[in-house]
């Protein structure tokens, strides 16, 4: 399996966007830093409203150079734009939305996830990091947690583990794990493989995945367009 990081990330973002592209209900979505932010570019659905935990509902696309407003950023410090009907509020209201279960879905990157649905995405204890952000509030508060993660690390080791080794952000919180090669849902206490990419086989996924999982009886080919 050879895929550039850039292509992998784009594929993951596009596949996650499919989760939201057709909703006819309003969907309130919080996007983490990295791949998750890219998801917004592919959603194209006016019913999806992006919430930024630094105090905004209705975040628009990233600002082009002539649109940049220093005081208008998302939680990843990227300059963004406003949509019609957007609103601003303080951080306690923003996390009231999140903690109170008003955010329908959050898309987060992770270092590791495991077969218990545990997510490790806040710290690598290497002495160089000291920060947690809104991740713990988001995984426990959002109604649906989607993990955007490359299937393997640079050494080819599975990032979908039997058991996370890194400090956990939230226990049993992952609902959907989307990699460049596969889609896993967390169902009935375990992972279920729902989709695989066109260029891989079930055996390929088995080889590249450390976690135990069931294969769905209706496993499908992932739409990577």
């Amino acid at each position: 399996m050879e895929m550039s990081e850039e292509i992998a990330k784009e594929r993951i973002a596009k596949r996650i966007a499919q989760e939201f592209r057709l909703t006819t209900n309003r969907l309130f979505l919080n996007l983490g830093v990295g791949i998750p932010t890219m998801v917004a570019d592919y959603v194209n659905n006016a019913n999806v409203f992006v919430q930024a935990e630094n105090g905004m509902l209705g975040v628009g696309p990233l600002a082009k150079s002539d649109e940049e407003d220093w005081q208008l950023i998302n939680a990843g410090r990227q300059m963004v734009t406003m949509t019609k009907g957007c609103s601003f509020f303080d951080s306690s209201v923003s996390f009231g939305m999140i903690r109170g279960g008003h955010v329908d879905a959050t898309v987060l990157g992770a270092f590791e996830v495991d077969e218990a649905g545990n997510i490790a995405n806040w710290i690598i204890p290497n002495g160089k990091q000291l920060g947690v952000g809104g991740a713990m509030d988001l995984v426990s508060g959002a109604n649906r947690v989607i993990v955007a993660i490359q299937h393997q690390d640079k050494k080819g080791k599975s990032k979908i583990k039997k058991s996370c080794a890194l400090p956990i952000t939230g226990f049993h919180e992952a609902d959907l794990i989307i990699t460049e090669y596969a889609v896993f849902a967390y169902e009935d206490g375990g992972l279920v493989l729902k989709e695989i990419a066109p260029e891989v086989t079930l055996e390929d996924i088995r080889m590249m995945t450390e976690a135990a999982y069931k294969v769905s009886a209706t496993v499908k080919t992932m739409n990577v367009a």
Binding site: T23, F49, L57, S87, S92, M97, R99, G101
Partner: protein, 220 residues
């Protein structure tokens, strides 16, 4: 997920309220309460309701109609002296009443909306309203543990909405409306006017549309 904002008649909107529901109603002293929605609820005859509101209007006026109609099973609120029929019904054992200090009532509603199951407050410590409640000392003071107050449906009043459902209020008619919008699963708002998205200043929107399901236009 909430449906795209729906604009309905009061009668249509009220159909989402089942008997035995916990219904939050905005307002304070007959100001900032959804008059048409409350009238429609009274006309519907839906019963066994728990009404979560600051007060219960006046006898036969506003929420008072629901008591006159025997639609109320229980009350959670703060001040019923403006409607003496409440004390009478309570004394006769017709309704249950969970009486809370106004600040505790407000904070419990906010807590429900913000995912806080319980919090501590000084108010009522040692009094009859704290009887049977857990207390705990922080620093040199004793506090009482109070719980979140969630609702199934909220009937609210706002001055103006945009098409998305963002809300602004008018003066002291704001009161409990913004926090009840956060605390109830299904939120119906009676508004005076609906404007296009983008017409409300993003800095001045009090209730983001994330908290709103249905709009009804007052007087329709």
């Amino acid at each position: 997920m909430k449906k795209v904002i729906q604009i309905m008649s009061c009668e249509e909107a009220i159909k989402s309220i089942a008997p035995h529901s916990r219904v939050m109603v905005g307002g304070f002293g007959l100001r900032g309460y959804p008059e048409d929605l409350v009238d429609a609820l009274a006309a519907s005859g839906i019963g066994d309701l728990t009404i979560i509101s600051n007060d219960l209007g006046s006898p036969g006026i506003g929420l008072g109609k629901l008591l006159t109609n025997n639609q109320i099973k229980g009350l959670e609120g703060n001040y019923y002296n403006w409607n003496p029929e409440v004390a009478a019904a309570y004394n006769e054992g017709k309704i249950k009443v969970n009486l809370l200090p106004q600040g505790t009532f407000a904070e419990g509603i906010r807590a429900a909306g913000a995912g806080i199951p319980a919090f501590y407050t000084l108010a009522s410590v040692g009094t009859e309203l704290a009887k049977g409640k857990e207390t705990r000392t922080f620093g040199d003071k004793e506090y009482v543990l109070e719980y979140a107050l969630p609702g199934d449906v909220a009937l609210l009043k706002a001055e103006k909405a945009d098409e998305l459902g963002n809300l602004v209020y008018c003066k002291s008619a704001r009161n409990f409306n913004p926090i009840m919008a956060m605390a109830a699963k299904y939120v119906i708002v009676e508004v005076g006017e609906i404007v296009a998205a983008g017409e409300l200043d993003p800095e001045c929107i009090v209730t983001p549309h994330m908290f709103v399901d249905v709009l009804v236009l007052k007087g329709r």
